[in-house]
Point group: D2
Chain length 273, copies 4
C-alpha cells in the first residue's frame, strides 16, 4: 500500500511529519511523497500512490481536491483540529486511520466537482465558485443565465455557486439550505442581494450557469474558487460554471457521518430548554 | 390515440366538458373516460388510454398523480386558470394541446413520488407530506430519524417533507429553497419551528425519514399528503416517508418552463427599479 | 406588603400552594388571594394587593397580563420550570423573591400591550394577536391596512401581530427578528406566506393595523390572543390591532436579563467549534 | 426664504444647476450656496439658510445628513433618478418642491443618527455603520458587547449596525426586517455569519454597542459609515456605536410615503397571480 501525504504547512512541521511518516512505514504503508497541500504534483508522482492522505482542516482538503480528481486518487483526511465536514478522522485517531488503510476498512463518498471556465482557463472546485465585490462599499449588478436563457439579475455583494459539499460552507452563511453532500446538485445563492424576491435555487449539475458582471462601481470584482482567487473580473465579463464529470472519493467513517458533523460543528437541531 | 380526461369539478361543468370532448374526437383522439380528478379508476379503464389529460390547476394534477404513477400514464395538464407549475398549457391553448398530442409533439419531465407509510397504509404523493398541528394554539414536539438514527427534534407547528416538485408549494412558504423539479431529492422543512438552529435540509430519496410525534397539547395532529388529510396522528405515533420508485411523466412545453413559471407565478428575480 | 398569587393549576397543587403561602406570611407579606392564572378578579380584590406574584411559565404570565394592566399591579414571576422570558426568578429562588419584595429590591420593565378590537369586544395582549387558518389544508387570503390605507395582501397560514415582548415567541418561529422588549413597537410577521416579497415589518404602536380576511377555503379562521382563542373569523370580516396605552410592569433581575434569556433559552449566539 | 443646494456632481452639471438656481430665485427663494454633496461647509454658511435642498439619490442625502444634523437644517430631497427612500420629490417635480417651500407646505420626519466612535474620532451616520472584511476570502471573528457585557461572537463577513432609516438599505440585504424609519431603534445584523443561531436583533438607541475585531485572516477590515470608509480596523481593535441625540428633519410628502416607497422600490407585497 502506498500513500502521498498532503498537509497544512501552518499546522504541521518537519518533526511531526517525520513521526507521522514513521507510523505509516511501521505498518508497511509506503509514503511516496509528503507535500504542502497546495503543491503541484505530476501524474507520475500521483501514480505512485493508492491514496492521498490529508492532514489539516476542510480548507486543506479543498487544496488537494482538484489533483485528487484529476489523478483519480481517493482522499483520506485526518483533521489536525476539530472534526471537519471533509475529514473522517480527528487529531488523535492516526493509528485508527493507518489500520483502516491497512485493513481496507474504508468507505468512500463520491463528490462531484464544479467546473468553472473563466479567462481561457478551466478550474475544478469541490465547494464553491464565488463572485464577490472587491471593495467595502456599493454593490455589483449580476446577471445569471441558465443554458443560455436569462434567469434573473440582481444587485448584491456577489453570488455563490456551490456543490452540495459546499452547502455547509459559505453558501450556508448566505442563507442556503443544508444539502447532503452525496447529492450531485448545484446551488445558486445570492450574497446579500438587495432584493426581496430572490432565493437560493437548486438545479441539476448538467445546467450551464453563466454569471455576467453587468456593472460594478469599482475597478473589478473577484472570482474565487474553493478559497483561492481565480480571477479579477471586470464589467461586461462573464464566467461559466457547470457540474463536472470529475469527482473525488472522500473517506468517511460511516453513513451518518454528515449528520453528526452538522450537529457537532453547527449545533444543528440542538435543544436548549 | 386515446385519452382519459380528469377535471376539477368546481371549475368545469357538463356543457364545457362536452365541448372539450368534441374537440378531441374531431381530431380522432378518443376520450375513453371523463372523470372528476379525485375519482378512482380501475387498471382496465386506465389501460384504455395513452395519456391522462387534466383540466384544472396544480391541485387537480395532485389528485391525479398517484393513479398516473400506478398505471404508468403520462399526464398532460391544461390549466383552466393561470399557468401553474404543473400545467403545460394555459386556458386558451386547448387546440395547441390537441395538436401536440396528435403530432406526438410532447416533452415529458420525470417526477418521482414520495411514499408515506402511516397506519398500515401506504400513500404516494407528488408534492409533499405534511405533519401539522390541529389546533390554533401551542406547538407539537417532533422527532426526526433518518435511517433509524435520531437526527433532531424541535417544537413547531409541523414539518413538511417535500419533493423537488413540491419545493415551490408549501415548502417554499415555510422557508425552503427553490429546487428544479427534475431533481430527485427530498426536502425536510420545519414549519414555524421555535428554534434558531434548524434549517431546510435536502437529502437523497433513498433515505427513510421517520417522523415521530413526541408530544402535543391537543388531541391529535394531522398528516396530510398533496392536500388531502391522510391520518389523524396521536402522541407516540410515527410515520415514515421515503422516495418512491414510482414516478409520473408530466408534459412540459420546453426545458426553460420551470424558470418561466418561477418568474411569472412568484415574481422570482423581478427587478423593481 | 400584600400580594395576590396566580398560578398554573396544572403545575402547582394545594399542598405546594399552602407551603408557598406560608413562606410569604412568615416574612409578613400578606397573601390576599391565590388563584389559577386565568381567574377573573374584581377591582376590589386587586386593590388589596401591591403585587401580582405569578408561579408558572411564560404562558401563565400571559394569562395574568391583562388584569395586571387594567388594575395597574406589577407582576413578579417565578418560573416553576426553566427560566422564561417573562420570569425573573427560577424554581428554587422563592426565598430570594420574597426577600426582594420585602426589601423593595425590585426592578421593573414597562411592557406596553396591544389592543385588539374584534366582534364588538376589545382585548389586551402582551405577546401577540394571531390570525391562523382553522384547517390543515389550504391558505387564507389576508389584507393588511395601516391607518386606513392598503399596505399589502398575501396568501398564508396566517399573520402574527406582535409586541416586542412577543418577538421571542411565535413571531420568532415565523421568521421575525429579536426585539428588546423594552421597545414599544409593533411587529407584523406573515405566517408561512406563499410569497417571496413579504418580510417582517416593524412599525410604531400608534398605527392602526386592520387585518381583513378576504377569502378562506374553510368555514372560518381563528383569531387568538396570547394563547387564547378570541374569535372565529369568517370571510369579509376584519379586526383591528393597535398599541395600547395600557402596560404592565414586569419584575426583572437586572438590565442584561433579556440577553441572558436569549442565550439560555434559544442558544442565541452560542459557538460550537 | 433661503436654501443651500447640495447635489450629486456625477449627475448634475453646471448648466442644469444654473437653471435650477434660476427657478428658485424666480420664486424669491435665495440660493445662498450650491455645493457637491460631500463638501464641508462652515456654521456661518449654514446659518445663511432655512433648508438644505438635495438633488440626487439616497446616497447623496447620506452625504449631507451629518452636516444637516450638526447645523440643525431640515433636508428636502429631489431625486434626480427614481424615487428613493429619502427623497420626497421625483425628478420632474422641481416646481412642486419650490412651491411647497414657498407655501410652507412641508412635512418633516425626524430621523435620529447613530454615533460611531473609532480611532479617537466620532462620526454621525443616518443609515448604518458596517464592519466588513477587506478581502474576498475568509471570515472575521467579531465580538459584540452591549453596555459592557458580552452579547455574542460569530464568524462572518462583517456586521451591520443600522438605524431604522437604514433598514431598507444594506441591513435588508443581510436579512434584516423592514422598520418604519420614524422609530428610533438600532438594528444589529450579522453579514453572512457562519452560524445558525444568530439573528437580526433590534434594541434601544440608548445601548452602547461595542464591536470588537477578535481575529481576521488578512491585514485589516473596513469600518464604513453611510457609504464612506471611516477606518481600517485591525485585530484587537474595537469601535462603539450608540444612538445619537442628533437627528435630521427630512421632508416627506405624506405619512404613507414610506409604505409607498416599499412597494415601488422593493416590490414589497406585490401579488403576481
Amino acid at each position: 500500500m502506498k500513500v502521498i501525504i498532503f498537509y497544512n504547512p501552518l499546522k504541521l512541521f518537519k518533526k511531526q511529519l517525520d513521526e507521522i511518516i514513521a507510523l505509516f512505514e511501521k505498518e508497511n504503508i509506503r509514503v511516496t511523497g509528503c507535500f504542502p497541500a497546495q503543491s503541484k504534483i505530476t501524474e507520475e508522482m500521483a501514480s505512485q500512490s493508492d491514496y492521498f492522505v490529508v492532514f489539516g482542516g476542510d480548507g486543506t482538503v479543498l487544496k488537494v481536491a482538484e489533483k485528487a480528481a484529476i489523478f483519480s486518487k481517493p482522499i483520506i483526511c485526518l483533521n489536525t483540529g476539530n472534526l471537519g465536514f471533509l475529514s473522517a478522522y480527528s487529531g488523535d485517531e492516526i493509528k485508527e486511520l493507518i489500520n483502516d488503510i491497512k485493513n481496507g476498512n474504508l468507505h468512500f463518498s463520491k463528490r462531484y466537482l464544479l467546473e468553472c471556465s473563466i479567462g481561457n482557463k478551466t478550474y475544478f472546485v469541490l465547494n464553491d465558485v464565488v463572485l464577490i465585490k472587491s471593495q467595502p462599499l456599493g454593490t455589483i449588478d449580476i446577471e445569471i443565465k441558465i443554458d443560455g436563457s436569462m434567469l434573473y439579475s440582481f444587485l448584491a455583494d456577489g453570488v455563490i455557486i456551490s456543490t452540495s459539499t459546499g452547502s455547509t460552507a459559505y453558501a450556508l452563511s448566505a442563507g442556503g439550505p443544508i444539502i447532503n453532500p452525496n447529492l450531485n446538485v448545484i446551488e445558486i445563492v445570492p450574497l446579500a442581494a438587495h432584493a426581496l424576491n430572490v432565493k437560493p435555487l437548486i438545479i441539476e449539475p448538467t445546467h450551464k450557469i453563466e454569471v455576467f458582471l453587468k456593472t460594478l462601481s469599482h475597478d473589478f470584482a473577484y472570482v474565487t474558487g474553493d478559497g483561492d482567487v481565480l480571477y479579477q473580473i471586470k464589467t461586461n465579463e462573464s464566467f461559466v460554471v457547470t457540474g463536472s464529470e470529475k469527482y473525488i472519493k472522500l473517506a468517511q467513517k460511516n453513513n451518518g457521518y454528515f449528520f453528526d458533523a452538522l450537529k457537532q460543528k453547527l449545533g444543528f437541531g440542538r435543544r436548549f430548554e
